[in-house]
């Protein structure tokens, strides 16, 4: 039935998708108002998105429970440390995003580092931020 070889670790990647809605505007402190408006165009105006965040953890399933990661632990950590912080907020006012230019890639990197500190060492593999159905940003471990 199986092609199992003793060398296999059965390492899987488990991804869970979360959702929040928030307001933001792109602006860099390095530039003045006119230059910011020119650089970011419509994104410099306060606006908002329905964000989707995909969090990927890796590891072998526990031989007894079959779980690589307890989803209740993952859900609780992401809800507390990320979703609960940013949902229905202006992202520029959120403490975990202090100093972050809230581009999709900037959010993915900030959420990755926030969650890396919350989850067991070495388990977080990547974070994807989907800003709209057309925009997808990924930040991976070691990136």
């Amino acid at each position: 039935m199986s092609v199992t070889t003793p060398a296999r670790s059965h390492r899987v990647a488990l991804t869970r998708a979360y959702h929040f809605s928030a307001a933001h505007r792109l602006s860099t402190p390095a530039l003045g108002p006119e230059e910011n408006a020119r650089l970011y165009g419509p994104c410099h105006r306060p606006h908002g998105h329905n964000y989707y965040v995909e969090v990927t953890v890796t590891g072998p399933p526990d031989p007894q429970t079959g779980m690589a990661f307890d989803l209740r632990v993952l859900d609780a950590a992401v809800e507390r440390a990320v979703v609960g912080e940013v949902d229905h907020r202006a992202l520029e006012d959120v403490p975990l995003l202090a100093g972050v230019i809230t581009t999709g890639e900037g959010l993915a990197r900030a959420f990755f580092h926030t969650l890396e500190a919350e989850l067991p060492h070495g388990t977080l593999a990547g974070v994807v931020v989907q800003e709209t159905a057309k925009n997808r940003f990924e930040y991976r471990s070691g990136a």
């Binding site: 039935m1 092609v3 390492r11 990647a13 079959g66």
Partner: protein
Amino acid sequence: MTDVASSTRRFTFSAGHRYQVDAWSATENERAFGRLTIPHGHNYTVDVTVRGPIDATTGMMMDLAELKRVVAETVVERFDHADLNADPLFRGKVPTTENIAIVIWDLLAPKLGLERLARIRVFEDPTLWVDYEGA
């Protein structure tokens, strides 16, 4: 640069399962798994990815009709509208999304070949999926 491509085909099946370790008491199972110990079901989606060189004559990496036939016979017919806990492949093994991905890999690897099978992705629902690449 070798002329290698990946093809992914999506399959679906609906199946029942529950999280239960037979060696544990009801209380221990309840503590470990919560409501997942209650028999329930999902509409599973499986993305099967094969990888290899593009055939110079046919322009195909793999005949997707063959892939469709193999996965339908080996996986979908076996698991669709089935109780996963009753399948011998899950004897002594909780049918978690993780284990389902590994079991599907083990079913398909002998039929498709390890040189072609690249990844199994199993969605339990749109918010939860597991990738297994045979590592």
